[in-house]
């Protein structure tokens, strides 16, 4: 397999960061040389465990996802009946919980859990980044930070889905869609926390903001809170759930949020650059990939021999 300039650069930086010796480097390069150029052939022929093969998310990230998942749904199912309290459909929701006053208490209590989860996430990001910088393993391409490459990947992926390109682009640990979704969720959470806190602590916000705008600010927050909530619900139902439950290759459910692992097939298809790093970091993965490709007659030994001669 001939690597693109991007994949070569990822491979070189990964070899350097992991202080790989010459013998191991040759083994990795030989393995890559022997792979078929068509990436589709690789990911369609590797065996994957539905629960995932390659480690992707730490226990902290999984816990934060679980906290967000539970608090988000609870907040939506208590918040909407509070906002539309006199609508016919909202009355049974409020009555089940003991009346709108009880719904409000539940909503605010769960909101505290959601804010704590956000703070836990920020702490994980800061601590993880500092520890990677200190150990010399930090690589911005491996983070959720949007880069120019994401715009190119988006264009190339559209071309692939339009049938104008044979393969999907070589994407990194987080692809353009995940980055967009992550920042949309971060923006939405910030809007919800600021607007929600303005209902709970109006005096505090009035003391911070200039008197001339504090009344308009409250009005703006009253409008933003329910509308952002509805937007977030729609995004989660029609975008996130589609991507993790219904999309081809993920149906009926992607297990990563529970096991923290991604399937080999998915990693090669959508996160090929990260898979290159996996080949450098995980000797066992190299062995498994080579065995799988050889058993299917897709490993080209002569590519290595040609290189050697």
């Amino acid at each position: 397999m001939k690597l693109s300039a991007e994949a070569k650069s990822v491979l070189q930086s990964s070899l350097a960061k992991n202080k790989i010796d010459e013998n191991e480097q040759k083994e990795i390069e030989d393995l890559i040389d022997g792979l078929p150029d068509d990436r589709v052939l690789i990911y369609k022929n590797v065996e994957s465990d539905p629960l995932g093969d390659i480690y992707r998310y730490s226990i902290h990230i999984r816990l934060q996802h679980m906290l967000t998942f539970v608090t988000f749904l609870t907040l939506a199912f208590t918040g909407l009946p509070i906002h539309f309290f006199n609508a016919s459909w909202a009355e049974p929701f409020n009555s089940i919980l003991g009346g709108v006053d009880v719904t409000r208490v539940i909503h605010r209590t769960i909101a505290v859990v959601m804010v704590s989860s956000m703070l836990y996430h920020i702490l994980t990001l800061v601590a993880g980044t500092i520890s990677r910088i200190l150990s010399g393993t930090f690589d911005i391409r491996r983070t959720i930070i949007p880069l120019w490459k994401d715009a190119k990947d988006f264009k190339d992926d559209l071309l692939y889905f339009a049938g104008k390109r044979l393969q999907r682009p070589e994407m990194d640990k987080f692809m353009y869609k995940q980055k967009l979704h992550y920042f949309a969720a971060s923006f939405g959470n910030t809007v919800m926390v600021i607007s929600g806190s303005s209902f709970l602590f109006p005096e505090l916000w009035a003391s911070i903001l200039p008197a001339s705008i504090s009344s308009e600010f409250q009005e703006l927050m009253r409008l933003s809170h329910p509308h952002e909530a509805l937007l977030a619900l729609l995004v989660v139902a029609f975008w996130h759930w589609y991507n993790v439950h219904l999309a081809p290759g993920r149906f009926p459910m992607q297990w990563t949020f529970l096991t923290g692992k991604i399937t080999r097939e998915h990693q090669i298809e959508e996160h090929f650059l990260e898979y290159i790093r996996n080949l450098v970091e995980l000797p066992d993965e190299r062995k498994k990939l080579k065995e799988m490709m050889e058993s299917r007659g897709l490993f080209n030994q002569s590519a290595n021999a040609d290189q050697g001669s």
């Binding site: 539905p50 909407l80 016919s88 139902a237 097939e265």
Partner: protein, 37 residues
């Protein structure tokens, strides 16, 4: 090629799928009622 799931793995995966589909249907109904009132 993803290996087939075991019985209990299927139970978890399909229940989770059913849960999100029910939530989606409830959400659509809620929005429809909201807009029509």
């Amino acid at each position: 090629m993803i290996k087939p799931m075991t019985f209990w793995q299927k139970v978890i995966a399909y229940s989770s799928l059913a849960f999100v589909l029910i939530c989606t249907v409830l959400g659509i109904l809620a929005i429809w009622v909201m807009l029509s009132e």
